[in-house]
């Protein structure tokens, strides 16, 4: 098992004017997930449902309120920042906005080089570092002259390739793609998705794909988990989900996204004591 989340919950406090708390917002509610090597998972859901928060919790960029995250069988929660470093090498993230995820003052070479800093074997070896940079750059199909450029000189697609290259620098096992193609236009999206497929084979990656776009999720993942109000309400193998959506919210989502049907926006009541129930063939539904 590559990654295992157990009952992960994240609350955000709402602060009063000076002291104390008014209350709490539950951004991620009791989420359990497993990811095995090579099996891509897509996390879909509307904006604000907690997808990005969950991704950041997995990377330990923000601490969960409760629950455990196991990577390669090791619980990450009690680890200090320093102890976390060996694990950081193996899980990387590509962010939504390629205009914001690259430091505008860094040349591409410097950005990629910085990503190598955790690799102790390469620390002093400029030549080996350079080779690694060249190799990864070729893998994401960028010309070498890009290295001395600044992000503002690149197009959106090129920047996203650089961001992917940065994530690959340390040979990670898991790459979290947080809406990694949503800000690109359709043709570039296609190219990047094809590229991600190639990279998965050459670098033996596993993707956790976060998206609100069901079509993209279908193209890249083996499994899809649907998130709603911080909970995972349905999880199923990709084709099974598209063939047979069980939860009313998933049905509505599919209707809107795939068939462009007019849907009335309505609230879906969540059973506070509900649980994911197995409906067979790896299809789980929250009820």
């Amino acid at each position: 098992m590559l990654l295992e989340l157990k009952n992960v919950t994240k609350d955000y406090p709402i602060k009063k004017f000076i002291f104390g708390q008014k209350g709490r917002v539950r951004a991620v509610d009791n989420v359990s997930l497993t990811l095995s090597s090579g099996e891509n998972l897509s996390l879909v859901g509307e904006s604000g449902c907690g997808k990005t928060t969950l991704a950041r919790i997995i990377l330990k960029l923000i601490p969960p309120t409760s629950g455990t995250i196991c990577f390669g069988g090791r619980d990450l929660n009690p680890l200090s920042a320093r102890q976390m470093n060996p694990f950081r090498r193996h899980m990387q993230m590509v962010f939504q906005d390629p205009y914001d995820s690259l430091d505008p003052r860094y040349t591409i070479r410097r950005t990629l080089k910085e990503a190598l800093h955790l690799d102790q074997t390469l620390v002093k070896q400029t030549k080996a570092q350079e080779e690694r940079i060249q190799h990864v750059l070729r893998s994401v199909k960028l010309p070498e002259m890009m290295l001395s450029r600044y992000p503002h000189e690149l197009s959106g697609g090129e920047r996203q390739r650089v961001a992917i290259a940065r994530a690959l620098m340390m040979n990670p096992k898991l790459v979290i793609l947080d809406e990694a193609v949503s800000s690109l236009d359709v043709l570039i999206q296609r190219q990047i998705i094809d590229l991600l497929g190639d990279l998965q084979k050459t670098f033996h990656l596993t993707y956790l794909f976060i998206s609100h776009n069901l079509k993209i999720a279908r193209a890249v993942s083996h499994q899809i988990a649907v998130m709603y109000q911080g909970k995972i309400i349905e999880i199923a193998p990709t084709e099974e989900l598209f063939r047979n959506p069980l939860h009313p919210y998933t049905q509505e989502l599919l209707a809107a996204a795939v068939d462009y049907q007019a849907v009335e926006s309505k609230q879906h009541p969540i059973n506070p004591t509900g649980q994911l129930v197995d409906k067979g063939q790896g299809h789980l539904i929250f009820m």
């Binding site: 914001d100 003052r105 040349t107």
Partner: protein, 365 residues
């Protein structure tokens, strides 16, 4: 058109924009000259700052002649005779029997070049029997021209050193408060506000009063720098903190975190450099504050002490209206303060214009 081969960082682009602003470039050149004259004050000025001759108290600017006995000669000055008028005021007259040619690279008062190499050569001067006062003399017959350049050393350097100290504190405090937020932020910002609450000039006076009397002039100089930066850092820290609060939410900061960079590395590499464009013009706009602060202290006699010169204590002479009426040249140091402050402000404004991304996108650059 040739294809641009070198990639430009945002700062390079901003600098190109700056070069287009002629007024600002002119100010930068002028400021550069002022700093050069301050650095080479020993060499540029004909006399040392303490070289006095009380026979020439408040001697007016010496006239330079190039015409003698019907033909051009090299520039020279006449000797000066003084007499008292009915009101016991000195009247200075040229003594045409004596003439002193102005020669370049003459030997004069000894000094140490950069404080190391003993040297006697001055850029220009006259034979020791004559006096040349390009911009008049002060009450003790010291050359104002020389003293202004020596004064520039104090007045111009105090801004740079002061801003360096307070900016270092401001960056560290603001960076930490903004990056970590929460309780650390609350505590640090309340401390800042305590400093900002007290009116600056009174705090300046109170702190100056706390400095022991027996300090020599160098110690007083550094005491003033420390006092001025002590007052100045809080405002900077607050602004840097505000910028850091927004910068830490940027994706590239999260990316750096997920790469395993430590907080210190992230603050130093990915957060503070982005406050740079603001910092540069904030520095330019706050340096005049230090120069004026030093001048104000020296003007009321609490700063640099005679015989050392600073633009502030040179102006102390000009506090009496009678002096200004009869010896208007003693106001010249004010012109230098004025020029310096204007230059820093113009450059600061120009930098803000070319570093501000909002304005830049408006121009389509």
């Amino acid at each position: 058109m040739t294809k641009q081969t070198k990639s430009l960082s945002e700062l390079d682009i901003a600098f190109q924009g700056f070069k287009k602003n002629r007024l600002a470039v002119g100010c930068a050149v002028l400021l550069g000259l002022l700093y050069l004259t301050a650095i080479f004050a020993d060499f540029v000025s004909p006399y040392s700052y303490a070289n006095e001759d009380r026979r020439y108290s408040y001697s007016p600017p010496t006239a330079i002649h190039v015409w003698r006995e019907g033909r051009f000669t090299r520039p020279f000055v006449y000797g000066i005779n003084s007499a008292f008028n009915d009101y016991h005021q000195r009247i200075y007259q040229e003594d045409q029997s004596q003439m002193f040619p102005i020669s370049p690279f003459v030997k004069g008062d000894a000094y140490k070049f950069f404080g190391l190499i003993p040297c006697r050569i001055h850029l220009f001067g006259v034979a020791p029997e004559g006096r040349i006062y390009l911009w008049g003399a002060d009450s003790r017959g010291r050359d104002l021209f020389s003293r202004i350049f020596y004064g520039g050393r104090v007045s111009l350097s105090i801004g740079i050193i002061g801003i360096f100290i307070s900016f270092t504190i401001g960056l560290i405090v603001g960076g930490i408060a903004g990056y970590y937020g929460g309780r650390i932020d609350d505590i640090l910002m309340r401390v800042c506000e305590m400093f900002m609450m007290v009116p600056g000039f009174y705090l300046l006076l109170a702190l100056r009063a706390a400095v022991p009397d027996e300090f020599n002039s160098v110690q007083v100089y550094f005491a003033i720098v420390v006092i001025l930066s002590f007052i100045g850092w809080a405002g900077l820290a607050r602004i840097i903190r505000g910028m850091c609060l927004s910068l830490r939410e940027r994706d590239y900061v999260l990316a750096a975190k997920s790469l395993g960079l430590s907080d210190g590395q992230i603050i130093a590499r990915h957060i503070l450099p982005h406050t740079l464009s603001y910092s540069i013009f904030a520095i330019m706009l706050s340096i005049p504050g230090y120069i004026l602060g030093e001048s104000a202290l020296s003007l009321i006699g609490l700063g640099i002490q005679d015989p050392l010169a600073s633009w502030g204590n040179l102006l102390a002479d000009a506090m009496s209206i009678v002096h200004i009426k009869f010896y208007p040249w003693i106001l010249l140091p004010a012109l230098f303060i004025f020029l310096t402050v204007i230059c820093f402000n113009v450059i600061g404004d120009a930098l803000r214009d070319c570093l501000d991304p909002m304005l830049k996108s408006g121009k389509g650059a």
